[in-house]
Symmetry: C2
Subunit: 156 residues, 2 copies
């Protein structure tokens, strides 16, 4: 089964968090699971906060990319379109908030689950939770904005 | 001149974002600059969002570690203690919020600047801004919590 990220257009598939074309990145893979979305990710031993626990910046990154992927998938679903149809939806992060609920063990697979809180115009709000061995350890909210065609062109 | 992170005790110096003992990590170095704190960081070419721009998860990570380092330095300063005196202060992230103001070019050195908004008991609130070529591109707020002696022991 193809993940959300497998549908990203090639010129938008270089993201360090979720781009299939980034050889150094996390290359997360996100799928629907009913009304929620799910990503599984195994931290590397060096993704350390203090020994034994996962680095919070990695968790923020996973929440970020899981959520922007979920936003795209939610927009396709709302329009009743398959993800391989054009025009392609791709979202950037307007804001990211993470509450670190408890230390996240670094051993084992993390489960990242998202749900759509709101779709309003080009904006999608996603709530995403990180679970370690079934325990919620971090909870994030991402305001994802549909990427403009000229992303970045006028801003730099 | 030693950076804040050079004073972290060895058992707390393995963080992927700021630990001097983490060979794979970012190893950021943060210093006082008057009442503000400053870190400089050059993204790697693979720290990409879309080609030409810096990955937002990296920016969140830099804001996170810059801010927890700033929290520790601020607590020493408030107590009138040098950073090489014991007991060592080390902070974890309670919450992280980042507003992405505009795309961050990946070429060149980023400047990350922090200021202390509040110190209250074991909690320090830091506002941290990322600048690319002098332009603010992301702004974060971190609630940093002084690490308990038994960090992680009871939570997993």
């Amino acid at each position: 089964m193809k993940a959300f990220q497998d549908y990203y257009p090639e010129n938008l598939a270089h993201c360090y968090g979720c781009g299939s074309k980034n050889d150094h990145g996390h290359r997360i893979k996100t799928f629907w699971d009913g009304e929620e979305t799910v990503t599984h990710f195994t931290p590397e031993p060096f993704h350390t906060a203090i020994p034994g626990f996962t680095y919070g910046g990695l968790l923020a990154s996973l929440i970020d990319c899981h959520s922007t992927g979920t936003a795209a998938a939610a927009m396709y679903r709302q329009e009743g379109r398959e993800m391989d149809t054009l025009p392609a939806f791709r979202f950037v992060t307007g804001s990211l908030h993470v509450d670190y609920l408890k230390p996240t063990p670094i051993a084992g697979v993390l489960e990242i689950r998202g749900r759509v809180k709101e779709i309003k115009g080009r904006k999608v709000v996603i709530e995403t939770t990180v679970y370690a061995a079934g325990v919620a350890t971090a909870r994030g909210e991402v305001v994802a904005i549909q990427m403009p065609e000229n992303f970045g062109a006028a801003s730099v």
